[in-house]
Symmetry: C2
Subunit: 375 residues, 2 copies
Amino acid sequence: MFPPERILMGPGPSDVHPAVLRAQSQPLLGHLDPDFTPVLEQIASGLRTVFRTGNPVTFAVSATGMAGMEAALVNLVEPGDDVVVGVNGVFGGRMAEVARRAGATVHTVEADWGRIIDPAAFIDAVERHRPRVAGLVHAETSTGVHQPVAEIGTAVADTDTLLVLDTVTSLAGVDVRVDDWGVDVAYSGTQKCLSVPPGLAPITFSERAVQRVRERTTPVQSWYLDLTLLLGYLDGRGGRTYHHTAPISSLYGLATGLDLVLEEGLEARLARHATLGALLHEGLEALGLELLAEPGHRLPQLTTVALPDDVDEAALRARLLTEHGIEVGAGLGTFAGRAWRIGLMGHACSERNVRLLLAALERLLDQAPAPTATT
Amino acid sequence: MFPPERILMGPGPSDVHPAVLRAQSQPLLGHLDPDFTPVLEQIASGLRTVFRTGNPVTFAVSATGMAGMEAALVNLVEPGDDVVVGVNGVFGGRMAEVARRAGATVHTVEADWGRIIDPAAFIDAVERHRPRVAGLVHAETSTGVHQPVAEIGTAVADTDTLLVLDTVTSLAGVDVRVDDWGVDVAYSGTQKCLSVPPGLAPITFSERAVQRVRERTTPVQSWYLDLTLLLGYLDGRGGRTYHHTAPISSLYGLATGLDLVLEEGLEARLARHATLGALLHEGLEALGLELLAEPGHRLPQLTTVALPDDVDEAALRARLLTEHGIEVGAGLGTFAGRAWRIGLMGHACSERNVRLLLAALERLLDQAPAPTATT
């Protein structure tokens, strides 16, 4: 098994630091071994730093980022609850769908792809529907939009509504302030700006979110994601109770990835993403390409860019992969077939990679054949 | 991060071959990269061999074994469905609970801990309740009981009931014959007899199980585990559709672990477990210890053994770990506080380990202090 070398500049997974890969090759400890406890504590502590929270209940769900979304919603939502969800891309749409499957009556607040959810409209919907839960995507990976959260968080914090924030692509790439913004549950994935292989979903629950779960009158529909059961393992004070077997190797990787974030410093890491994201945006516009997220709300770590109309984006993307070893992502939904999603995440967010991509793209566009009609 | 060296002889995770650990340290490919497809195909093919099935829908769920159980049940069960579950230990009890949370009316067929579910009683319950789904644990990890399945499978195959088999601890340790037995869904974990780190749940669906999922009138309550959505990624023929980001490193590990199984040969691997399990059982009885699973139905790879009444099992187990570096598992449920669970799984199933454990146990029992009253 000798996979070809890639530079991963798509929507995730991103490139992983060799130290994280090495950590995943360590021999296993048992998941109940007392010597494994420091690894779990290190992860909880590191996640609190990147989420900027003091929440005791902060851990990694044993599945990928989408299971983080599901864990947030199935724990908080009971059948018949009203839920408000902001939808301006694929992941807001998924949040609405996951909430519906948990039995919620979902009220969406929508915006065009590439635009933010208007905070006033979202706050208004929360005031009108007085939902049990309101959900929002901080970094919409399908559009590259950076959603402002602070104003919404402040407004919602004074109500009985719990605020759920999808930080899958934002965590450790742009500022995430769980406590300052009054976010009740934030979840993420490891394979984006943390630059750890996919497989875990960092998550944090505020005290009032934990209380809400404890006061449920119906069981959480997912046994695997039931927070009250998970706490028996996570809270080591009374001895760890077996729930499921924790994914040891992935947790070694995450602990090491978080160490790398702390070693760089969270502020420095966010600044690196901001600087290089701007460099990429300038470079793409200098090539005459259009950025699809609205100005002022563009993520540095995930850029949606329209390809020229006369270019077959799939063929060009395949050539970027095979000839240049660079992976970027296809457009999704509204942007499918006409845009790319370019990631600059974590370890892959380097000036070298920005220059490489721009140079490769310039060459490919010069040579790009017109799209051929598909029969 | 330098974890102490352990010999993992508990109920899982088991020791992992260095080649599997190395595979987990490979740089990542994207989960939609065409060069990643052979890895997924290799896993599907290897899993078909160990499950002894031709089922096209055979893959690894992106979460641990318990999520395999949940994936089986939430896909097959619709609210109000009758489900029959055999309960003679922790995992049968969990299956009943997961089915209830999926909206099922559950009818249990029970047996004492340490005894098999009587096939005639199980078949009788299926005939009486005509359930949509009947679930059974093949290797009950809490008791060490090896459940006979063939007779039940034959009886159920002629009905509209789908048979779900938990093979978390049995797969690649004792014979699992999905097609011969008429099993509709079997799921497993990687961290037992496959000797791959925890994090994935191998699963296989028969054609009629897939059909059942497609004909549902209600959505699968879990978006993350919804088979119809997963098939868009798994079935590469129409191009892979993004659902969630596949856990690349864990899949590299599983592909390599399956290669090791095929290299040894499945029959040889099962014979190794049988021989060394018998050696362990003889050795434990020679030390005067009582085995808790009924004779004739003992798993070689998971042995429950009662400690002498005057021994503090937790203290002895802690000494086995710290002084001898050997991990065994505590008893669960009925067996908590008085028994151990000794694993002989996959890479950890060696004559060296059996001898080491027996020698260590003999020394520790000679020196074991009486349990002290806890105040």
